[in-house]
């Protein structure tokens, strides 16, 4: 842990809101994106990311520093999001149509802003839309590991710590997730898949 992060952590533990905000500044976008990936809906992801940080703030005085702060942050994020998913399953309020619609809208804005030229942009956007849908169709177990690995760039060991899973389970879930993605992509958009990234 960096020196400055340690100092901020100590201050945050004593309830200093400003120090806490500085401490989590670099995590906000990642936590939001992780929540977005798990929950599949922009507005809900924002709410859950907020809830995650409120919980972290409340619990930070109990943070024992046995794991790294980032691992702890992502662990709480995944717990908050998975709890929410379970609750929704119980309450049956999930609207898949709406989720996909939301994501499409978000994707579009994001891709356009990168401005790589109209054709390429359209193609990339299409690929991303398909991949986005494919990831959303994965079971939550697989979706979480693939997000932590490929979107957050965590090592297998970090993922194992974050999710409190054995290393072997992480490894097999990542492999299964990618095979499942491949299956979806090949069946849905074979040409597109072939033409993409070399």
């Amino acid at each position: 842990m960096e020196h400055s992060e340690q100092i901020l952590l100590e201050k945050a533990k004593s309830g200093d809101v400003a120090a806490f905000e500085e401490l989590i500044d670099s995590y906000q976008k990642k936590v939001f994106n992780l929540a977005l990936r798990i929950i599949g809906n922009y507005d809900d992801a924002a709410d859950l990311a907020q809830e995650t940080f409120v919980r972290i703030y409340k619990a930070i005085s109990n943070f024992k520093e046995q794991s790294s702060f980032s691992t702890w942050v992502y662990r709480i994020t995944t717990n908050v999001c998975l709890d929410e998913l379970r609750r929704r399953k119980n309450k049956k309020v999930v609207s898949l149509d709406e989720d996909i619609h939301m994501n499409d809208g978000d994707m579009k804005r994001q891709v356009m802003s990168e401005d790589p030229g109209p054709d390429e942009a359209a193609e990339r956007e299409e690929v991303r839309r398909v991949v986005n849908d494919a990831i959303n169709k994965l079971s939550e177990d697989l979706r979480v590991v693939i997000t932590l690995r490929d979107l957050q760039g965590m090592s297998y060991e970090e993922i194992a710590k974050t999710l409190d899973l054995p290393g072997g389970t992480v490894k097999s879930r990542i492999n299964r997730a990618r095979l499942a993605l491949k299956k979806v992509l090949l069946s849905e958009r074979e040409l597109l898949f072939e033409g993409y990234v070399k």
Binding site: S14, G15, V17, F20, E21, Q28, K29, K30, F32, N33, L36, Y42, D43, A46, Q50, E51, F53, V54, R55, Y57, K58, A59, S61, N62, N79, L82, D83, R86, R87, K89, N90, K91, K92, D106, M107, Q110, E114, R124, V127, R128, V131, N132, I135, I146, R149, D150, L151, G153, Y156, K171, I174, N175, R178, L181, K182, L185, F193, Y196, V197, K198
Partner: protein, 386 residues
Amino acid sequence: MTSCADVRENISAYADNELSASERESFEEHISRCPSCRDELEDMLRIIAICRSMPQQELPEGFKAELHEKLTAVSARQTNIHVIREKPKKIVFARTIASIAAGILLIFLGGGIIRFGLFSGGFMSKSSDNADMTASTPASSAKPAENSLAYSINEAQDMDIDGFQSSEPMADAPMDALSMDYGIMDSGNGAEITAKSFTANRSVEKDERDNGHNQGMNAEAATSKTATITVTTRDIAAASGKVTILAAVNNGMAPAENIAFDGQDIPETSALSIHMEEENTQKQLQYVFAEADYSAFAAALNDTFGAADVQTGAFVSEDMTDTINVLIDQSVMYDAEIQKLQNDNNAKAPEEINKLKKEKESIDEQIEWIRLNSDFVTVTIYVNMK
């Protein structure tokens, strides 16, 4: 010799550079002579490249500002005693306490002794205390709305244990109320004297607290344990009935909130049907179990409804040590303040004493609730329509 099946199992790990040197070597050896596995690897690399190229979304507009408000609200609540929703006539006692409360995490020596004396006997004889309090302040135990107020305070003390409550009630709390209306004292000279003595005692108490902290003394450990179970059924009413019976035979009790708020007067039905929110598609039931009984209850549900229709959800255990100790400190401070007022001959004192007693009652209820939760698991059962 490495088989194709082995290689395919390891494809992701290879691509992620997560294989050991020997695994890697045999993997590469196989790939070099097996075209179909090589194709698989290429596909996998493409998949990974696509996943990694997925854009990160920007934070929603206003995200940080909204979070800042929530954090400030939580922070205010963690350091202030509580909210009294009336205009303060004279903020004396409250200001002092609010500043004392800031930063308190462990109890001080003197307070600890008072506390144990007070609560070991105090809670057992609560029924008689309660009788008085109920007579003078019926709202504290009779109105559900009052309970929920107490719970929103609980929530702010990191007690979002059951997941029903969103963070909304907390975020919505008016900041004015938080920062202004801590408490009320209007007993003229008496109040001034009280305030001074509070201030004078403060530095001594702090030293004692620090000592207590260093020696690890007087801290009361507490945990909040909750669990959720979902039962899916075609007949919600019948299934809820079965759940109720299974809970009863496995020593399920009314949730602590009912015990705490209703005191000695627990209605007979409350042990069996608590917190039902009837909807067309779902019914929620809540029971409190000893941990061993909870396992037995979960197993009984499985046996009755079949494993496919019973989903045992998250078992959440949360450290409440700091929370309970802050509350205990607050309760002790109230006692001291009430005692001082009782020694006062001010004509208005009885009114204030009642007010303070009512506030203290609410804190004590929270303490008792946390204690009960420490020993038991609060289980929420969702009965869902198939």
